[in-house]
């Protein structure tokens, strides 16, 4: 029995959309759930017979009030921003010249070195955190945000060097050569010509550095002990969860606020992220 082509096409289309719908549901549901829970009253949340998908009691802003005024959440956001800005500064200072050197100056051995630098990105914090915790103690940085400022570039520099190398490689050599003929040194041409036209790449590096800092968990958990020094990714799960009572509403609000805005921003840069991951390895 022949299936009419129109029907077959419609089924294929429906299947395709259904598949995408399922994946999207799986990915986004926890964030949707955070958002719903944020505005629910605790008495509504903690009644098993209530339909959890709807507001059985009127929505409330109480959870947000608690989060912002009765917890250290705002301070954690501030700490995260403080560490993030400083790490961005250190990372750019070291990774921009390094990326340029790998793209233009170092030739064959530079290629090997570049792959070597990238591989250090794969060395996990779970292998290093034990000696690191002692080194941090020896430096007197225990429980200080400066310990994070010191350690986070260990993974942001490799990643951003690699990413920026790809950017610099894509810039036509003629531009620098023209600048050098005009009397600039090689380094002068880099500062005056290459950096200004690489701002998009540098912005990408900044965004990725900030998201990597926001996501980091293991080092912050290891080095920081006082609640007021936490970053947001550690403060919320350790301090808000491991109290005696779970304030699910405030907890979910804290998770949502620290996750979704960054994700939206990041979405604009994700294609560059992919080429950062695969450049050089795959042509």
């Amino acid at each position: 029995m022949a299936v009419p082509p129109a029907l077959r096409r419609a089924t294929a289309r429906g299947g395709h959309l259904g598949l995408i719908g399922l994946f999207t549901l799986f990915s986004a549901f926890p964030f949707y759930w955070m958002l719903i829970t944020t505005f629910k009253r605790t008495s509504d949340l903690l009644k098993r017979t209530n339909n959890p998908f709807i507001y059985n009691e009127p929505p409330t802003l109480e959870n947000l009030r608690v989060l912002f005024f009765d917890t250290l959440y705002v301070r954690w956001l501030g700490n995260t921003l403080f560490v993030g800005v400083l790490v961005v500064f250190v990372t750019l200072l070291l990774a921009v010249p390094a990326g340029y050197a790998l793209a233009r100056l170092t030739g064959r051995w530079g290629e090997q070195l570049g792959i070597g630098i990238f591989l250090t990105y794969l060395v996990p914090s779970t292998l290093l955190f034990i000696p690191m915790s002692r080194l941090i103690g020896d430096l007197g940085l225990q429980d200080s945000l400066w310990s994070l400022v010191l350690v986070y570039p260990s993974f942001t520099i490799p990643f951003c060097t690699w990413l920026l190398m790809g950017f610099f490689k894509a810039i036509p050599r003629d531009l620098e050569e023209a600048a050098m003929i005009d009397g600039h040194s090689r380094f002068g041409a880099f500062v005056k010509v290459v950096i200004p036209i690489s701002l998009a790449g540098i912005l990408t590096a900044i965004i990725f550095t900030l998201t990597l800092v926001m996501q980091e968990f293991v080092y912050a958990l290891t080095f920081i002990t006082a609640a007021r020094n936490y970053t947001v990714s550690v403060g919320v799960p350790t301090f808000l969860v491991h109290g005696d009572v779970y304030f699910w509403g405030s907890l979910m609000a804290g998770c949502f606020i620290a996750s979704v805005p960054v994700a939206v921003l990041y979405n604009f840069f994700v294609d560059r992220f992919i080429s950062g991951f695969t450049v050089g390895a795959i042509k």
Binding site: H16, L17, I20, F23, S27, A28, P30, F31, W33, M34, F53, L94, A98, A101, L102, T106, L113, I115, I117, L119, T120, L122, P124, T126, L127, L128, I130, M132, S133, P153, G183, H184, S185, R186, F187, G188, M214, Q215, F217, T222, V232, S233, V234, V236, V241, M252, G254, C255, A258, S259, V262, A263, N267, V270, F273, I274, F277, T278, A281, I282
Partner: protein, 316 residues
Amino acid sequence: MSARTTTGEPEPRAAAGPRALASLLDSPRWLGVLMIGPAVLYIVLVVGLPFVLAILYAFSGVTMGSRTIEFVGLKNFINVLGTAKFQTSLRNTFVFAIVAQVLVMVLGTVLAIALLKDFRGKWLVRLLILLPWVAPISLGTIGWLWILDSTYSVINWTLEALGLIRADGWLMWLGVPYLAMGSVIAIHVWRILPLATVILLGGLTSIPHDIHDAAQVDGASFGRHLFQITLPLIRPIMLVAGLFGLVFAFTDMIVIFVLTRGGPYDTTQVLASLAFFTGIQAGDLAEGAAIALFLFPLLLAVAVAFLRVARRAEVT
């Protein structure tokens, strides 16, 4: 370092001092070393040094309080290997990482192929699918902690509403051994899937259109097209995605730390989380380092595989 020393005037090489600097800044060789040196130095100090120490600690008797390093040979490894906790964790690490990564690759390939086609609202779908990867892992995982809560789980509520379980038959997603392992694997897949998908999608979009057109003209079936043309062409990029995912899966402890803390009865304990609990929380740096060091051979294997892929791509 001044960039202006040689700039500006048509006859730049005037004074002797600036000339030395100028030739340094103009020689690609030396400038290259100067520009990359600081980054390399930083990485050596902040990754290389702790890495060497991690190995030293594993062969020593160092604890949180002790000030000196005294070597004890293989004692830590022997101690560690003998414990049931370690053996369970080692087995769990492999089960967790391999099952999760196989699922990630299969689902990632399916999703990437589905996303290849254009449809309305694709940008929004992509944003939503990326969320788990971009959001701080610990925070996304807390979302799941609430979804899987023993008393108020929305999944249980839905299953009961659909008549699949009874009111007294609610599942303890994180409290029963096999179910807990299934849950942490599912949530790890949830988090890594976006990364694998976008990498694979990058590979798929780089295949020239003519190849697909030619296959269509030749009348290749969907299955043949997929298994004999598309997948072989993106094999190198699949390898990259697979290797990265494997490293993340083997070395991650965040999902497990937030959801189960290794419980119930260590059935979800993995090497990374065990190293944390032993080395940091219990203060036995040496034994913790020995446990963490078991991650190293695996990383080495992945690094070698990655280098081989990189080299092959360079040759062709």
